[in-house]
Symmetry: C2
Subunit: 361 residues, 2 copies
């Protein structure tokens, strides 16, 4: 059995392997969480696109399938005030795409569909007591955090800068995810909105390690054993891997997303706000090219998504990825088409091999 | 004596340590190259701000001081055609700064001062026969490359994407520098100008390693032994370190630059084109904030610099860094104020320590 020299995250979460499957709202399934947990990693269930009832159902299924510790993830944004003028401008910008698809630009659209952590979600946490609760976009208000901690859960959140990591530690997290610029999906930034100064994983991880005393989890651009090994050298106690799990059969993503991942090269992605109103990394597609990748015309998170849904649905029906958020990190090209349990084990097995082979003697 | 498992760069260049001191035009001195070479790393002399005669003098001094192999670096851009309209627009944009400094916005300014590799430089290479010749911004024309190779020099250039690495290998380089997004100074990009898709070191290095058969040198965000150890795990055969050498007494930089480095945090830098017309990473200052960091109003590389010189000189005289290019990577905060010879050795000593301590058993 492997003796990992840094056991801080393993002991904190009660897991066997220093691999955290990233919570990916919409794409992560119960099966993915269960498979990761079976391998000995930390499976993470995202809740941002679930209702409290949906979360209850998913947790029941997971708890019935595995005894291992799990992580439940929540977005901790504050819903913005209604801004009809911003919505009108946004819909005017999208109108040509509606017309091109034969849709009525004035049709009513659904809501945005990204729910923040709240009292209803907190009740589910108190009921199911996941061993780890992680947040994205900082932390929810102190009273809710206290409730979560009261269940015995370890608390985790993401930092994109040293300042964010220091803030998270001061506000009670048990560990920090140092989320490098390479990472796919929504950036965790919450103290800065400046995308020109976001930090790459190689530079971010050791600086976060030096700045906080809680253990650090490296994220961003890690999709194989080399990235795992490198992260441990930088001082990370574990890694969080997202994009590589999108290649697993357990991922639930549209076929256009799978196709984009299959073709993604190192420089196929960019950070964009056009899909939700917050910056996130995805494969560059038509919407990003034509109105982004970053635009001030996009309404506040998460309200941008509603008006996109009809043209996205129409495009996907025609197998076009023009309006789909094709979340991916910069290391998609390193991933393999294997199951989530095998992936979790392989990341560790190959990391150990890499360290052994590349160790000077 | 340490046995490095990957000796490809060590054997190719004839050096003892897998550390390449990055050529930093303006900042790297003869003393820095000599100190790095004495430690067993590869010292790199930049030529972009030298004349052929200045290069001759520097090489004479280096050859007199050390027997170890050295690298001479050249920019391989093509000088743009005169564009008086672009210069007029640029000077109009800068005019308020001239007036603020009590300078005449219509005064004649000096040339841009970044010279590409040419026949005159090639003669110096043939005369002094540096063991390694590196280029930035792709490669010069094939005839010149042939001349350089004819001297027995190994050829090196930087890639910011896998596509650029593949191109460089196809065009005859002996090794590739995989230059991640974190790196300070001018980006090496030459097949793309799209800064939204540049790749972080953690993601770039293994993808370049997989794509080329020549050895790969990791660069970007590496300023201590952890970064060196991590880079070796990613498959790099050596690392190139820049910013950390700016903290050495052998660096020749303005006091405002030293002060900016001393205060630089992980998120203090951005990629900007406002100083030279090409994207480069530096500490964010007034000019970057007010007209950048990336602007289409900046004239073609390297012609932006001439008009900046008078306001830069005036500001520096008042100890203000408003118009100085404060080149730095994202890991400046990891650097120490030690000499270049000690730094070169320390990077390796601490890398070995890190690998030994963080190796699972």
């Amino acid at each position: 059995m492997t003796r990992w020299p840094d056991r801080r995250i393993l002991d904190l979460f009660g897991i066997e392997l220093p691999i955290i499957q990233a919570p990916m709202a919409g794409a992560t399934t119960v099966d993915m969480v269960v498979a990761t947990a079976r391998a000995g990693g930390l499976g993470s269930l995202p809740s941002a696109q679930l209702t409290a009832e949906g979360l209850r159902k998913a947790l029941s299924e997971i708890r019935a399938a595995v005894k291992a510790p799990i992580n439940v993830n929540f977005f901790s944004h504050i819903l913005p005030p209604d801004d009809p003028a911003a919505q009108t401008r946004w819909r005017a910008l999208l109108a040509p795409y509606y017309l091109e698809a034969g849709l009525d630009p004035a049709a009513t659209v659904a809501g945005a569909g990204r729910a923040p952590f709240d009292a209803a979600f907190c009740e589910v946490v108190e009921e199911y007591r996941p061993e780890v609760v992680s947040f994205h976009f900082g932390l929810p208000d102190k009273a809710l955090v206290r409730h979560v901690k009261g269940t015995g859960a370890k608390i985790l959140s993401s930092a994109t800068t040293v300042a964010e990591a220091v803030w998270l530690e001061a506000n009670g997290v048990d560990a920090v995810v140092a989320m490098g610029f390479e990472a796919g999906g929504h950036r965790g930034n919450f103290l800065t909105n400046d995308m020109t100064t976001q930090v790459g994983t190689m530079a971010l991880v050791p600086q976060v390690v030096d700045a906080v005393s809680v253990p650090v989890i490296a994220a961003g651009g890690i999709a194989d054993g080399r990235g795992v090994a490198a992260s441990l050298m930088l001082g990370a106690s574990a890694v969080q891997v997202g994009t590589a799990y999108l290649f697993c059969p357990e991922a639930k993503i549209p076929i256009v997303h799978t196709n984009a991942l299959a073709q993604a090269k190192d420089d196929s992605t960019a950070i964009t706000n056009v899909f939700t109103g917050r910056p996130a990394r995805g494969v560059v597609n038509r919407l990003m090219r034509e109105i982004g990748p970053l635009s001030e015309a996009v309404p506040a998170f998460p309200t941008a998504g509603g008006a996109l849904a009809p043209i996205r649905t129409a495009a996907e029906a025609a197998e076009r990825d023009d309006f789909t958020n094709l979340w991916a990190g910069q290391a998609a090209n390193l991933a393999s088409w294997i199951g989530a349990e095998a992936l979790t084990r392989e990341l560790c097995r190959t990391a150990l091999e890499v360290i052994e082979h590349r160790r000077p003697v």
